[in-house]
Amino acid sequence: MSKIWLIAQREYLTRVRKKSFIIMSLIGPLLTVALFAVPVLIAKMSDSGKVVAIADAGGLFADRLPEPKDDISFTRVSADLTTAKEEFKKGKHDALLYIPKLDISNPSGFQVFSRKGLGMSLENDINRAVNKAVENQRLRQAGIDRNVLDNMKADVDLQTVSLSDDGEKSSSTGISTAIAYVCGFLIYIFIFIYGVQIMRGVMEEKTNRIVEVVISSVKPFQLMMGKVLGIAGVGFTQLALWVVLSMGISSVMAGSISPDKIAEDRAARTTAVVRPTTSQDDAAKKENVATKFTQALKSADLNVPLIVGCFLFYFLGGYLFYGALFGAIGSAVDSETDTQQFMMPVTMPLVLTFVVSQAILTTNPNGQVAFWMSMVPFTSPIAMMMRLPFGGVPAWQLGLSMVLLIAGFVGAIWFAGRIYRVGILMYGKKVTYGELSKWLFYKG
């Protein structure tokens, strides 16, 4: 046992000290944070406050100009198209919208002039503003007040409640799906990254021929287990660093680019151009979204300790199961190119679970397919983690899945150990499946 510990220690320390590990540990969280922060930053920076001039010959905006939106504001210019164009050429407006004299039931002939291309969002905004104005005119003709109509529009949130033996539990499918994906993806990516590291490590020892020296001191099984456990430690360290650093970085970032602050900035800028009241509405709306999200998180009533606990279990269990198999592959081949034929059957179920998860697991988390996938050790680490956040997994299923996974990795480690002890001393031979199966039954 102490030798396994020694080996695990070496595997851990040599990997953690590598530059690539340190870089990965820093880049991972930065990428995660960037994923969320960049859209916000872009939104903050790109809107330079575009101004659209309106030549309103048709009188569509006679009583009021469209409300500024997304930092696009509107201003009125001469209703005569030719003078408006002349002015536009000299002026500093970004676009010129011409409203012709129109028949409100069949409006046509709107024109937008711009110096450069308009850009999708600006065009959309102008289009929307015009549509809305036309709608308003029509509503007025029909004698309907805009406000009355707005009040009639429904904006309903469904609160989904799962009924189980424990009583009613409200859940939020959106949040559950997000958590399911994050858990599933993390397990998937870590099994791949660290499984392949085990394989490479074994191959390195084999091609370096150090293995013969080492296994004259320890049993091949100890060497393999030490490697698997040491690399597991590296994986956990990386995960922990990612979580801690991501939280650290995002909390620092949040201080400078919180949505509230952006809204304030925007309000300050837009009021200078047009009217103040509307932008405050905007901010209020945004705040509403934020509170909705936190409410959803709360109302989802996720069993957080259970999910975190199970995540750690399946993370480790899945890794040990696949790690042992990857180790066996590494021992059976001489070079990276030979790994392909053996990698396929090992990685297939892993990839399959992840692909299938979209179609089946998250849409029908308690169906037949989901049930079986969360039992078989090849697929259960990902499948079960994608079912759990939706709730409704009976305790016996979870227990059975865990027991099967433990049995699975004990079996996988036994199987890998048999292959490994023969494989690491086998050089210059292309190994076939038939041969592998013979290795299983070799004596000591």
Binding site: R209, V213, S216, S217, L425
Partner: protein, 317 residues
């Protein structure tokens, strides 16, 4: 002398190949034991059983009279034919790791590593990565890794391959010094001439079987065949009732070289007397032709396998 290690009727069978077919050897304590044989004879298979990398299918290995078991690992040092170290690990850390795997405590290992690095004058390498060392330097480090835990039985598989002549000599002295300290050494090689002078005992292995073993001097004595080498001036008559000329070569200026086998009842002095007297040659050199281990091996193998062709490059399974 009491054997430190005994192999008793050891058998090892691979899928379609018998690696060892009932091999028995005794390694006397404090000696250098040559395990000789061509490539693929089964030497490495035997060594892997002794180092407990694999197990024997049948037979037994005894270490100091005890059945070989994992508690003996710390007493055995093994230098495999295919050398290998972790390339990206520092020399000092690597030695520490390998010593600890052999069961040494950190403090013990520290002192011993120091001693050996000093001895080979390679202390300044301790903080270098192995991949930054030359091949010869790596070989030295590998040797230190083999002996750092003070093994009582040292197994060296082709120890001189990859060493330049100077370092080979250094290594040879080191091996002899270890024997002086009482370490028993198994020396495995297919280049028999290279170790003849160092070995006290030998075993010859061919095609999974031991064909010959014993003390080097005894083996050689047993294979002496009353043949003498003569160098001189003049010309040696071919026909004589007391001896037969096996081979005679003419050299420049009326010189010659000849191998002469004495018939039973004739002593080397009789031959000398004849040469000086009736033979009418001027003798420049006269010595007994002792068969080399290589000669003995080939002779022995020809006796058992008349169709023997020396193997050159079969792959050990």
């Amino acid at each position: 002398m009491k054997p430190i290690l005994q192999a008793i009727d050891v058998r090892k069978q691979y899928a379609n190949h018998t690696a060892l077919d009932g091999v028995s050897i005794d390694i006397p304590e404090g000696s250098i034991f040559g395990l000789l044989g061509p490539n693929g004879a089964g030497k490495t298979s035997l060594i892997r059983i002794i180092t407990q990398i694999t197990g024997a299918d049948a037979g037994e290995i005894r270490f100091r009279g005890e059945k070989l078991n994992p508690s003996h690992i710390g007493q055995i040092g093994y230098l495999p034919e295919e050398r290998g170290l972790y390339k990206k690990m520092k020399v000092g850390e690597q030695l520490m790791y390998l010593a600890q795997l052999k069961g040494l405590s950190k403090a013990d290992a520290h002192g011993k590593i120091r001693y050996w690095l000093d001895r080979f004058d390679i202390k300044s390498w301790a903080d270098k990565n192995v991949e930054d060392l030359s091949k010869g330097m790596q070989q030295k480090v590998q040797f230190v890794a083999t002996v750092v835990h003070d093994p009582t039985l040292l197994i060296l598989d082709e120890p001189f391959s990859g060493f330049d002549p100077i370092n080979a000599n250094l290594l040879k002295d080191e091996i002899l010094a270890l024997r002086e300290k009482g370490v028993s050494i198994i020396f495995s090689t297919h280049r028999m001439e290279s170790v003849e002078e160092m070995c006290d005992y030998i075993a010859l292995i061919n095609r999974s079987r031991k064909v010959l073993d014993g003390k080097v001097s005894d083996v050689k004595n047993a294979y002496r065949n009353q043949t003498y080498e003569i160098e001189g001036k003049g010309h040696l008559l071919v026909a004589h009732p007391d001896f037969g000329v096996l081979d005679q070569k003419k050299r420049e200026n009326d010189h010659f070289y000849a191998q002469v086998q004495l018939h039973a009842g004739t002593s080397p002095n009789d031959l000398l007397r004849y040469l000086i007297g009736a033979g009418n040659v001027e003798v420049h050199g006269f010595r007994e032709k002792v068969p080399s281990i290589n000669d003995i091996f080939i002779q022995r193998v020809r006796e058992t396998h008349p169709d023997y062709v020396p193997e050159t490059d079969s792959v050990p399974a």
